[in-house]
Amino acid sequence: MTAAATRAPAVPRAGREKRRTSWLLLPAAAVVLVFFFYPLAVILWRSFAEPSFGIGNYLAVLGDEVQLRVLLRTLRTALIITAATLVIGYPYAYAMTLVGRRARSLLTLLVLMPFWTSLMARNFAWYVLEQRGGVLDKALSAIGFDGVVLLGSVAGVTVAMVQVMLPFMVLPLQSSMLGIDRTLLHAASSLGARRPIAFLRVYLPLSMPGVLAGVSVVFIMSLGFYITPALLGTPQQALVAQVIGTQVNDLLDFAGAGALGTILLVVTLVVLAVLGRVAAPLGTSAAGGAGRG
C-alpha cells in the first residue's frame, strides 16, 4: 500500500482517477466477501471436514443412485425451462424492438408486471390454475385431454417456472437487441440477402450476447430454484434444492448438503463453460461472416 502511495504521483492523471474511484468498489466487495464467499468457504470446508476429514461426503453423493437421478432430473428440468423461455422470449424481445414507443411500453409492462408480483402470489396462482378441476384441467378436458392434472408433476413445475423465469430471458435479450443497428439488415438486403438469410446471418449473431446472458441467468436460477418445485411439485419429483433442504432441515446433515451443493455448483460452472465455448466462436465467426457479406 505504501509502495502504491509513493508511486502514485508518477501515474498519469486518468490512471490516478481510476485508482481513486476503484475504492468505491470496496463496500460492495466487502459485502460479497462477507455474505457470499465466506459462507461458501465455510460450506466447502465443512463438506470436507465433517464427520471425518476426507471426501466421504462426495463419494456418498456420487455413489447414491437416487441423488444422481435427482441431479440429472434437475439439469434436465433446467435445460427444458431455459429452452422454453428462449423460444418464447426471443420473438417477444424481437417484437419489442420493432413496434412503436407506446406498444413497446405495453409489452415491457407485460413482462415487468409478473416480475414485480410476489413470487409466492404467482406460485399460489399456478397452484389454483393447475389443480384438479382447475382452469387448466377444465380447458384441457374441453379439447379432449381428460384428467390432465399438472399440480404435483414435473410438467406443472416446468410451466410455472417458465413463467417465473421469462423476464430474466426477455430483458437481457431486449437490451442487446436494442443495441443492434437495424441498418445492417437493410445493407444485407441491398446486397442481395433475402430477409430470413439477413436475419440468420446478421441479426441472430449480433443478438448472441443477449441470448448468452439470458440463457446463463435462467439456467443458473432454475438449477437452484426451491419455492416453485417445493410448492407445485411433490417429493416424488424432487429437484436438487429440495433434497438439500431435506438434508439440512430433517437430518441436520450440513456437510452432506454442502457436498451436494458443491457438486451442483461445479456442474453449473462446467455447463456454463461449455455453453460459453460453444456459443462464443459461433457468435464472433458469424458476425465476422456478416461483416464480410
Binding site: 470496496l26 417429493p235 432441515n249
Partner: protein
C-alpha cells in the same frame, strides 16, 4: 490515506450494524419459537404465554417458524437468540446434550404418558395419525380399517400423505395396516412399510408441507388421507365437513416437545416457562384451542365435537393408541429418513 477512511468506515459500520440486527432481548424477556400463524401457535400464546407474562412480568416474544437446522446453526455459531423451542420429539432426542439443555421436570414428570418425556424434550402436544376419507366419495361404503388405505381395489381413489418427515406415524401406520402387532412395531421394518406404499404408489400424492396437504384435501384433490390430528382439526374447523375420521382403528401417536437450546443466556428462565406450560390447566387449555392431545394426562378431556373425533386420550381409546418410540427414531433417524426420501424421490 485519510481520504480513504470514510469508505472504510462506512463499510465497517455497515457490517457492524448488520451484525447487531439480531435482537438479544433483555434479562426479563424470553423468545418462544413455534410454527407460525394458526390455531397451534395462537393457542400457545393464549394458554401459556399471556398468563405467564401476567404472572411473572417476563415479556415473551414469539418467533418462528421452528426449524431444527436454524437451531443447530445458532448453537454452533454461539449466538443463541431462541430460549424455548417447540420441535418434534425424535429430532430433539437425537440432539439432546449436543444442541439442547437437559430439562429436569422434578415431580411434574409423573404427569406425562409413559416413555414420552426425554432428558431434553418436554412433551407439549400429542398428535394422532388419523385415517380420513371424503364422505361424498365413499358415502355408502366407507373405509373401516387402516388396511383400506392401502387397498386400491376395494377403495379406489386418490390418497394423500405428508411426506416431509416419516417419523410422524407414516411408517407405523403402514406396518399396523399390514398386520404387525403394536407391541412388535420396533425395530421398524422399513422395507415392509415401503412395500405397503408400493401398492398405492400410482394413487398416492405426497405433500412436502402440512399446509399443502390441508389445501389439497379441502380442494377435493384427494379422497383418502393419513393426516396428523392437529391439521385435521384445522381442516374440519375451517369447514371441510365432507371429510370424516375413520373411528375405532389403531392410531400412531407422536408428539412435539419444548426444548431449551444450549447456550441461551436465559436457560433457567426458559425452563420455568416450560414447567408453567406443563401444568394440567395450561396443558388442557392449549389442547382444547389447538385440537391436540394434552401433554399432561391429569388434564381434563377436550369438549368440542370436532376435538372429540380427533381426541387420542378419550375413553375407550387406550387400546388404539400406539405411541411412537422416540428413542428408536432418534437413534435410527438418518437411515430411516434416507430410506423414506429415496422411496419418495425414486
Amino acid at each position: 490515506m485519510r481520504r480513504r477512511m470514510p469508505t472504510l468506515l462506512s463499510a465497517a459500520l455497515l457490517l457492524a450494524t448488520a451484525g447487531c440486527a439480531i435482537s438479544e432481548g433483555g434479562p426479563n424477556s424470553l423468545v418462544f419459537v413455534s410454527y407460525g400463524q394458526g390455531a397451534y401457535q395462537a393457542g400457545q400464546r393464549a394458554a401459556w404465554l399471556d398468563p405467564y407474562e401476567k404472572q411473572t412480568g417476563t415479556t415473551v416474544t414469539l418467533d418462528g417458524p421452528s426449524n431444527n437446522a436454524k437451531l443447530k446453526a445458532m448453537v454452533e455459531a454461539g449466538k443463541v437468540t431462541w430460549d424455548v423451542v417447540d420441535t418434534d420429539a425424535s429430532a430433539a432426542a437425537a440432539v439432546c446434550g449436543s444442541l439442547l439443555e437437559p430439562v429436569d421436570m422434578g415431580a411434574q414428570a409423573a404427569g406425562f404418558p409413559e416413555g414420552s418425556l426425554t432428558d431434553c424434550g418436554v412433551p407439549d402436544a400429542f398428535f394422532g395419525m388419523m385415517l380420513m376419507y371424503d364422505s361424498k366419495v365413499y358415502g355408502q361404503h366407507p373405509p373401516t380399517k387402516l388396511a383400506d388405505f392401502f387397498d386400491p381395489k376395494q377403495f379406489p381413489g386418490r390418497r394423500i400423505i405428508y411426506g416431509g418427515d416419516p417419523s410422524v406415524g407414516t411408517i407405523e401406520a403402514a406396518l399396523l395396516a399390514d398386520g404387525v402387532p403394536r407391541d412388535r412395531l420396533y425395530p421398524l421394518d422399513m422395507r415392509r412399510a415401503l412395500r405397503m406404499y408400493d401398492r398405492i404408489r400410482p394413487q398416492l400424492a405426497i405433500s412436502s408441507t402440512y399446509g399443502d396437504q390441508q389445501q389439497r384435501m379441502a380442494g377435493g384433490q384427494a379422497d383418502l388421507a393419513l393426516i396428523v390430528s392437529a391439521r385435521a382439526f384445522s381442516l374440519l374447523k375451517a369447514g371441510a365437513t365432507n371429510w370424516k375420521v375413520v373411528p375405532g382403528i389403531p392410531v400412531p401417536v407422536t408428539w412435539d416437545v419444548l426444548v431449551v437450546p444450549k447456550g441461551t443466556a436465559r436457560a433457567e428462565e426458559a425452563k420455568k416457562l416450560i414447567r408453567f406450560a406443563s401444568q394440567p390447566a395450561q396443558a388442557a387449555d392449549f389442547a382444547a384451542r389447538a385440537g391436540v392431545g394434552p401433554a399432561n394426562t391429569a388434564a381434563p378431556a377436550a369438549r368440542s365435537e370436532i376435538a372429540r373425533q380427533l381426541d387420542i386420550w378419550g375413553e375407550g381409546k387406550e387400546d388404539l393408541r400406539v405411541l411412537s418410540n422416540v428413542r428408536y427414531w432418534a437413534a435410527n433417524r438418518p437411515a430411516l429418513v434416507k430410506a423414506w426420501s429415496d422411496w419418495t424421490t425414486g
